[in-house]
Symmetry: C2
Subunit: 206 residues, 2 copies
DNA sequence: TAGATTGTTAATCGATTAACAATC
DNA sequence: TAGATTGTTAATCGATTAACAATC
């Protein structure tokens, strides 16, 4: 629909606009934002233009208005609830990650097959048996399933999430998932970034 | 130098080849890998071609040879040591993340300004005062600094890392860092993926 | 040799950027 | 009106894909 590179930059726009908003700056030009973000002002204007004529010629962009628009595009106008499946280190770290809440995302519960993890001992959030995924989804109104399980468990867990009615999966396991085509999967591969660095180091220093 | 999209796919190639290797499969075609990875065989052949003529016409690719080559490209032939700066939830989760070790990356130590975190109580790895960054870098041979600190601390911490001699930074704080041009920064923005999902949900269901 | 699959070219697709008319 | 900055077009750049000659 919209260029995915454009959508990927919106969180960055959201943050810079939030900052301007806190500083009570009412108007900002694409050039000012570009400088701050290290990209071109053309790119910002083009990205925003996909969603209408959001600025004021000769003046810039109204910070509050643009912020509202960006929240709308990113689905942040409504608080989205997440289910984290896999209460291991990564799952628990994400559960406590403040960046999620700052972007209107709320972890509602964790799930695990390991009964030693069930309950509310691991932090402020409850860990439920994986078998309760479907019922808790309805009860707590969760929309996105976060997969922080070992690679071998990812596909079966994805099947359960699909059966439970989740239409969006955020998958941290390095495994291609097979899902019905009305279900979207976002893959998060943490090693790509650091291996890119490793590649550059190897090129430069061996 | 090489297309960054190509380098970003190499970790995926590494994993699929490791799997073939474990299954004692000696030869594999670009088409077989493509099916498994959900991409085109053209793309695989093109990606690999940047690094030489790595396959055997009519036969495919020698798994062990290609694996060695990919490790070399990604700098995995030598174990790279990481310093994690910021022993919060995310830092500790990364410290214990098995995916790093599986890709030849070794967390050697954590650093924090909070004296309550110093020592070896948080797990198998020591947490040092941030003031020891430079001395421990030399002692432990760390090359990559991982920034898991709050946004407000990111730039000062990056300055310290640069002063300590780190030439590669893996930055989880949503902040553009200013560094000398011989220092590479890889930005990791965890909210991009999930906000992309949120965007799709908003489009489809409101 | 016949069959298979690579490596590479050329075409296509998508994303970025420069430039400027429109307009506040 | 004069100055500024948007929104949009066209040019450029980079990445993907199809097709096929080269060759095992």
């Amino acid at each position: 629909m919209f260029p995915k590179a454009t959508i990927a930059r919106f969180p960055m726009y959201f943050r810079v606009l939030t900052e301007y908003n806190h500083q009570n700056i009412a108007l900002v030009s694409s050039e000012e934002m570009a400088q701050k973000l290290g990209i071109t002002s053309s790119q910002i204007r083009k990205d925003l233009s996909y969603f209408g004529s959001l600025g004021i010629r000769g003046a810039g962009y109204d910070v509050a208005y643009l912020l509202a628009k960006i929240k709308e595009v990113l689905g942040m106008d409504k608080s989205r609830r997440l289910a984290i499946i896999g209460a291991g280190k990564l799952g628990l770290a994400l559960a406590g990650y403040s960046g999620l809440k700052q972007h209107g995302l709320e972890v509602a519960a964790l799930f695990d097959t390991d009964d030693a993890k069930w309950g509310t001992n691991n932090g402020p959030l409850p860990v439920f048996p994986l078998t309760e995924l479907a019922s808790q989804k309805e009860k707590l109104g969760m929309e996105i399933a976060v997969l922080t399980v070992p690679a071998s468990a990812a596909q079966p867990v994805a099947n359960l999430a699909v059966k439970a009615g989740f239409k969006a999966l955020w998958n941290f396991a390095p495994v291609r998932l097979v899902v019905p085509k009305d279900v979207i999967v976002q893959y998060e591969d943490l090693v790509v970034g650091i291996l890119t660095l490793s590649h550059h180091l190897a090129r430069k220093f061996g």
